[in-house]
């Protein structure tokens, strides 16, 4: 029975991986069209991108509703957290410039990207250096390319803050679970421990033990942290209310960092057997090795890249689809208010359906990332078989 459930789960995850690929393609088109709309709008209205960016947030009364901008604004990172209407939570800007040194100030000084401050300004959402005085309109200021190249932006952006919120949540959940175990010993789990224990056991038995083998224990902290980090960020990304809703696990920087850690761990733990199979596959003729070895070396880099892209694409695609259904309401609403209300019913139904699907995807993607990481680590420490 348990095996059957596991098999079903795996089949589902494979199916959804397929769906996710389709979604990925779909969202590529969406991105393209978003770009197209942005540029045509910019040409038509002869307005700067930041102006459009500032006015399209939920306030379609002043400018034409731009779904591409709206969706991108929600799935990409920002120096400020849009709360409602024109209200945004300013976030700290932390910049280290090799020539100017460290600058720390609030993103409110940028005035939604309209003004310069402290020798910096926002250009297409990124912090760039300028020589213009404080409070200059960004159109009047010029970008100092040399200084920009020397700028390292480590600001607390929307995604960083979202991630920190998730981390606090994680610490609260697992510290209380840990306290429970410390005080109750081997007794039956209660409260939060009862909720997390089956998942921990699942990661241990079906992910770590199944893929790594007898030496699974040393990778358990990493696998558990990765699993719950992705899971909690996925789930938090589904809640559209501050301080949740940042697209953390759908950010390629985050998935890059996660995949990089898995990659570095495989490199550190890779044994002679593992490298032997990559550099010179035993039992393969020399001429074939000329082809096989580059492919294997490519594979070493491809594996973490796949991890990175799969998680990013799945989560972002889900968000884009949900947001697209919402965008439909406003697009039709601009044509006719009644039409907008009519469409909103279907949009809401689809959004509810998609959110349910996203809940499933949140678990599946956390599982798939952890499962594949365990598999790569397992192959890296695998001992040669003695026949």
């Amino acid at each position: 029975m348990k095996a059957l459930i596991r098999a079903t789960f795996l089949v589902f995850s494979v199916l959804f991986a397929g769906v996710a690929m389709a979604q990925h393609e779909g969202h590529d088109h969406a991105t393209d069209s978003a770009h197209a709309t942005t540029s045509s709008d910019a040409q038509l209205a002869a307005e700067d991108v930041n102006e459009v960016h500032a006015t399209t947030h939920g306030d379609e009364g002043h400018a034409k509703f731009n779904p591409g901008e709206m969706i991108m604004g929600h799935v990409t990172d920002e120096h400020g957290w849009h709360l409602w209407g024109h209200t945004s939570l300013p976030l700290p800007i932390i910049i280290y410039n090799t020539e100017r040194g460290l600058s720390v100030f609030s993103s409110a000084h940028f005035d939604h990207g309209h003004k310069t401050y402290g020798g910096y300004m926002l250009h297409e959402g990124k912090v760039v250096a300028t020589t213009a005085a404080d409070g200059t309109d960004v159109h009047a200021a010029t970008i100092d390319e040399a200084l920009t190249a020397a700028t390292w932006d480590v600001s607390i952006t929307k995604n960083v803050l979202g991630m920190l919120v998730s981390i606090v949540l994680m610490l609260v959940i697992f510290m209380s679970a840990s306290t429970h175990y410390r005080t109750n010993g081997v007794g039956a789990p209660k409260g939060v421990a009862r909720f997390v224990e089956p998942i921990i056991l699942f990661v241990r038995d079906d992910v770590a033990k199944a893929n790594i083998g007898p030496h699974y224990a040393r990778f358990m902290p990493f696998l558990l942290t990765v699993f719950f980090f992705i899971l909690i960020n996925n789930l938090m990304g589904l809640i559209p209310i501050f301080p949740f809703g940042a697209n953390v696990s759908g950010s390629i920087s985050v998935t890059f960092a996660l995949a990089a850690i898995t990659f570095i761990l495989t490199l550190i733990h890779g044994n002679r057997h593992y490298w032997g199979h990559i550099l010179a596959m035993p039992g393969v003729p020399k001429p074939v090795l000329l082809i096989l070895t580059p492919v294997e070396i490519l594979g070493v880099f491809l594996r973490p890249s796949i991890l990175m892209i799969r998680l990013f694409a799945n989560i972002t695609a889900g968000h884009i689809i949900v947001l697209s259904f919402f965008a439909l309401i406003f697009i039709f609403g601009e044509i006719n208010a009644g039409l907008g209300w009519g469409v909103s019913i279907f949009s809401l139904l689809f959004t509810v359906f998609m959110t349910m699907l996203e809940l499933l995807v949140a678990f599946i993607q956390a599982f798939v990332f952890t499962f594949l990481s365990a598999m790569y680590l397992g192959s890296a420490i695998e001992e040669p078989h003695h026949h």
Partner: protein
């Protein structure tokens, strides 16, 4: 735009992830996993102990039954022996009693025989004495007439008869 590697985000992600990893590893995963392992071990031990106890119980039962059976057998043997002893003793007693009775009878018979012999001997002696007495009287009365002799004989006989009775 969408696919944009941001240095700041990668930096914070790496730093905070590693921090979380180390904090949770030390304060959460280790105690939780240790407890889970301990509990599993406890359950396994309890199960194996229960199995062992069950086996011991079974062994004890067999042993008990064995004991019961041997006790029963021993009782049978003891009872049989007792019965044998009793029978033998009864038989012996009977034999002894019979022998004693026989001996008694034999002695009685001998006594009777002896008495009889003695009586006969005495009778013979008395007859002899009487005969002598008669003969003596006859001899004494010899000088008398025949009638006197006759009377004498009669008289003697009568006396003898009386005395005898």
């Amino acid at each position: 735009m969408l696919i944009q590697f941001s240095f700041g985000l990668i930096f914070w992600m790496t730093v905070s992830f590693l921090a979380v990893l180390f904090i949770l590893k030390k304060f959460a995963w280790k105690p939780i996993l240790d407890t889970l392992t301990e509990r599993e071990k406890g359950i396994e031990d309890a199960l194996s102990e229960a199995r062992k106890a069950r086996e011991e119980m079974a062994a004890l039962n067999t042993k008990n039954e064995e004991l019961m059976r041997s006790a029963r057998e021993e009782r049978e043997v003891l009872l049989k022996e007792a019965r044998d002893i009793r029978d033998r003793e009864i038989a012996q007693a009977k034999e002894k009693a019979k022998a004693e009775a026989d001996a008694l009878l034999a002695r009685a018979r001998t006594d009777i025989q002896n008495e009889k012999n003695a009586a006969l001997t005495e009778m013979k002696n008395q007859v002899a004495e009487l005969s002598i007495l008669v003969a003596e009287h006859i001899l004494r009365e010899k000088l008398g007439d025949a009638a006197a002799q006759r009377a004498l004989v009669d008289k003697v006989l009568t006396e003898a008869d009386l005395r005898k009775s």
